[in-house]
C-alpha cells in the first residue's frame, strides 16, 4: 500500500472534498499552520481560488459568518489555525453553532467544520498551545474529531464535511510529517469508531491526537520490558466509541489514558469517568491519567517538555498499572 505523509493525506482530502462539492468553502489560513509544506496549497488555490477566502483577523465575525452560511446551505471549513484562537469565536461556536439544531427543534442544520491545531508545539507558550477540545466536549451539539495518522486525517476530514453537524476538527502540528499507509481508494471514516492502533494484552492505553504517536513509541519501548500494550485511538470524542474501549479492558483489565488536554475536566477525565461508571468491575487496578499538568503552558523548552504527556510519563503510568 502507498505511504503518505500526514500533510499530504490531509491536502489530498481537501482537494477531493473541494472537487466533489461546490458548497465547500475554505475560510482562513492554509490548514497546514506555519509548516514548510504549506506551499502545497498553491495548487488548490489555482483550482479553487474563488472558494478559498481570506478574512480579516475577526475570528468572531468569520466563524459566525461560516455558521450562518452553513445554516443557509453551504458547507464551510474554517481554519482557526492556532486552537486557542477559537476563544475569540467562542460565542458563535459554543452558543450559536452548537445549540442551533436542538434549539430550533430540528429545523436548523449547521454543517460547518472548525479546524484547529491544538497542543504543545515547541515554544507556543500559553496563548498558542491550547487544547480547547475538552471545553468543547462540554458543549452538546458539536462533534469532535481528532485524527492521529495520515489515513485517519483523510477519512475523518471527509466525514466532518459530510455530516450535518457542526464539527470541531482537532489537528496537531507535530503530526504533519508523520508517515503512514493511505489506500488509494480511501473512503470516509465514520465518526464514533475507535481504532486499535496496536494490539496488546497487558494494558489498554487510550490516547488521542499526537499523543497516539507518543503512546505507540512508549508501547514499543515497553515491549522490550515484556509489557504488551494495546493502544486505542477513539478518533472522535463526539460520538464516542466506549464499546471498543470496554472490549479491550475486558482483555487487559488495566487502563492508562494519555491526552494533551489539561488534567482537570480534561479529555482523560471524561474517559476515565465513563470507564469507571460502566467498566469498573473489569478493572484490576485504578485508572491512570497522563494529561498536561494544570498550568498555563510555559514557553521554555524544558518547562514545556515537563508538563505534557511525554513518552516517559506514559511509560511510568503503564509500568505502575502492571506492577
Amino acid at each position: 500500500m502507498r505511504e503518505l505523509a500526514y500533510y499530504e493525506a490531509k491536502f489530498e482530502a481537501l482537494e477531493e472534498i473541494m472537487a466533489a462539492d461546490q458548497r465547500v468553502h475554505l475560510i482562513n489560513g492554509t490548514f497546514l499552520s506555519l509548516s514548510p509544506h504549506r506551499h502545497v496549497f498553491q495548487t488548490l488555490k489555482s483550482k479553487y481560488g474563488e472558494r478559498m477566502i481570506s478574512p480579516p483577523i475577526s475570528e468572531l465575525g468569520f466563524c459566525g459568518l461560516a455558521t450562518g452560511a452553513a445554516m443557509a446551505g453551504l458547507r464551510p471549513i474554517v481554519d482557526l489555525s492556532t486552537g486557542s484562537f477559537i476563544f475569540e469565536a467562542w460565542p458563535q461556536v459554543a452558543n450559536e453553532a452548537a445549540n442551533a439544531y436542538s434549539m430550533s427543534g430540528g429545523q436548523t442544520r449547521v454543517p460547518v467544520v472548525f479546524h484547529l491545531f491544538h497542543g504543545l508545539r515547541g515554544g507556543g507558550a500559553a496563548q498558542h498551545s491550547g487544547s480547547p477540545q475538552a471545553m468543547l466536549w462540554n458543549c452538546p451539539g458539536l462533534e469532535i474529531a481528532l485524527p492521529s495518522s495520515p489515513r485517519d486525517v483523510k477519512g475523518l476530514l471527509k466525514t466532518a464535511v459530510a455530516t450535518d453537524n457542526p464539527t470541531i476538527f482537532v489537528d496537531h502540528t507535530r503530526l504533519l510529517d508523520t508517515r503512514g499507509e493511505v489506500p488509494e481508494d480511501d473512503k470516509a471514516i465514520p465518526f464514533g469508531v475507535a481504532d486499535v492502533k496496536r494490539k496488546g494484552g497487558d494494558v489498554t492505553l487510550i490516547a488521542t491526537s499526537y499523543t497516539v504517536q507518543v503512546g505507540l513509541q512508549a508501547a514499543a519501548q515497553l515491549a522490550k520490558e515484556s509489557i504488551d500494550v494495546e493502544v486505542i485511538d477513539p478518533r472522535t470524542l463526539v460520538p464516542f466509541d466506549l464499546a471498543a474501549i470496554l472490549t479491550s479492558i475486558e482483555k487487559t483489565h488495566r487502563v492508562v489514558i494519555a491526552d494533551e488536554t489539561h488534567q482537570s475536566c480534561g479529555v482523560a477525565a471524561e474517559i476515565a469517568a465513563r470507564i469507571a461508571e460502566t467498566g469498573f468491575d473489569k478493572l484490576k487496578t485504578r485508572i491512570r491519567r497522563v494529561s498536561t499538568l494544570d498550568v498555563p503552558v510555559p514557553y521554555s523548552p524544558p518547562l514545556e517538555a515537563h508538563i505534557g504527556p511525554s513518552e516517559a510519563r506514559i511509560m511510568d503510568a503503564v509500568r505502575a498499572a502492571v506492577a
Binding site: 459566525g64 450562518g68 445554516m71 460565542p91 434549539m103 430550533s104
Partner: protein, 322 residues
C-alpha cells in the same frame, strides 16, 4: 406620511400586521401575568412599525435574523402565530418543539432563520446567509434586527467591517430604542446614532423615525433595491421605543413617566390609523374591526398553545446531533 398615492389595500395589510403583533404580545404578557407562560420574555410593544415596515419589502426566500425581542420580527416575516405561541408556552407543537422559547424563535418555513438570546449574536450569522445568497445568485438578501445595545459589542463591529469589505447583501436594521437592557444608551456610548458606525465602515446608512411605518417601509424599499442589485450592505437605524420594561416583570424605574407619555403619543399603530383617517380612507369602525380580528386570532393561538401537549422528557436528547 409619504406624499405619494398610497395603496389602501397595502396599508390595511400593514396595519393588520402591526395589530397582530401588538395583540400577540399583549396576550403573551397577560398569560405571563397569569403564570400560564413562564420563562424569560422580552416584549417589543411600541416597536411594531420597524418589524412590519421592514419585512413588508422582503421576499419569502429572504433571510431574517432577530434577537431576544423578536416575536414581532417573526410574525412580520410570516411565522404562524399558533406555533409561535405554542413555542413561547413551551409546548411540543411549538416551532422549536419547546426547546427554544421566546428568545430563540426559529421559523425557517417563513424565512425567519433564527433569533438569539445573545445581544448581537445573529449579526455574524446574517453575514453567512448573505454570503450563501451571493454564491447562489438568486438575489436574496439577509436582514438582521438588533438593538442599540448591540452597537457596543464585538460581533457588530467585526460584521460591519466584513460585510462592507465583501459587499455582502445584508441589511442591518438597528432598532434604537434608547435603552440597552436597563440603562440609557448615553450610559453605554458617546455615539448617539448607531448609523455613525456604519459610515465608519463605509456602509451607506440612514436614520429614520422607527415609529412611522411608512418611513421605515420607504427606507427599506430603497435599501432592498440596492442590496438586491449587488451594491453591498446597507444600514438602517430606526428610532423607536419599547413601551414595556426590558423583560416582563421589569419595573423599569429607570425610565421617566414623561418620556413614556411622549412615546405613547407616537404609538406607531395609532399613528398609521390617524394618517389613514385623515385621508378618509378608513374610519373608526374599520380600525375597531382590524383590532378585534387580530385579538380573535391571537386568542385562538393562545387556546391552541395551551391545549397543546408538553414535550416528552424522554425525547430531550433527540436533535442534539444528527
Amino acid at each position: 406620511m409619504a406624499k405619494k398615492k398610497e395603496n389602501l389595500k397595502e396599508l390595511t395589510a400593514l396595519l393588520r400586521r402591526m395589530w397582530l403583533i401588538r395583540a400577540f404580545e399583549e396576550k403573551v404578557s397577560a398569560l405571563y401575568a397569569e403564570r400560564q407562560i413562564v420563562g424569560l420574555l422580552h416584549l417589543g410593544i411600541g416597536q411594531e412599525a420597524v418589524a412590519v415596515g421592514a419585512c413588508s419589502q422582503l421576499r419569502a426566500d429572504d433571510y431574517v435574523y432577530g434577537g431576544h425581542r423578536s416575536h414581532g420580527h417573526a410574525i412580520a416575516k410570516g411565522a404562524d402565530i399558533n406555533r409561535l405561541m405554542a413555542e413561547i408556552a413551551g409546548r411540543a407543537s411549538g416551532y422549536c418543539s419547546g426547546k427554544g422559547g421566546s428568545m430563540h424563535i426559529v421559523a425557517t418555513e417563513a424565512g425567519f432563520i433564527t433569533a438569539t438570546g445573545v445581544v448581537g449574536g445573529t449579526i455574524p450569522l446574517a453575514l453567512g446567509a448573505a454570503f450563501a445568497a451571493k454564491e447562489r445568485k438568486k438575489r436574496q438578501v439577509a436582514v438582521v434586527f438588533f438593538g442599540d445595545g448591540a452597537g457596543q459589542a464585538g460581533p457588530f463591529h467585526e460584521s460591519l467591517n466584513i460585510a462592507s469589505l465583501w459587499r455582502l447583501p445584508v441589511i442591518f436594521i438597528c432598532e434604537n430604542n434608547g435603552y440597552a437592557e436597563f440603562t440609557p444608551l448615553s450610559a453605554h456610548t458617546k455615539v448617539a446614532r448607531l448609523a455613525q458606525h456604519a459610515k465608519t465602515y463605509a456602509i451607506p446608512a440612514s436614520t429614520v423615525d422607527g415609529n412611522d411605518l411608512l418611513a421605515v417601509r420607504d427606507a427599506m424599499q430603497k435599501a432592498v433595491a440596492k442590496c438586491r442589485a449587488g451594491k453591498g450592505p446597507i444600514f438602517v437605524e430606526c428610532l423607536t421605543h419599547r413601551m414595556r420594561g426590558h423583560y416582563e416583570g421589569d419595573p423599569a424605574k429607570y425610565r421617566e413617566l414623561s418620556q413614556l407619555a411622549q412615546w405613547k403619543a407616537k404609538d406607531p399603530i395609532a399613528r398609521l390609523a390617524r394618517a389613514l383617517k385623515n385621508k378618509k380612507v378608513m374610519n373608526d369602525k374599520g380600525f375597531a374591526t382590524i383590532e378585534r380580528e387580530a385579538r380573535e386570532l391571537v386568542d385562538k393561538a393562545a387556546e391552541y398553545a395551551l391545549a397543546s401537549p408538553w414535550p416528552d422528557p424522554d425525547a430531550v436528547d433527540t436533535q442534539v446531533t444528527s
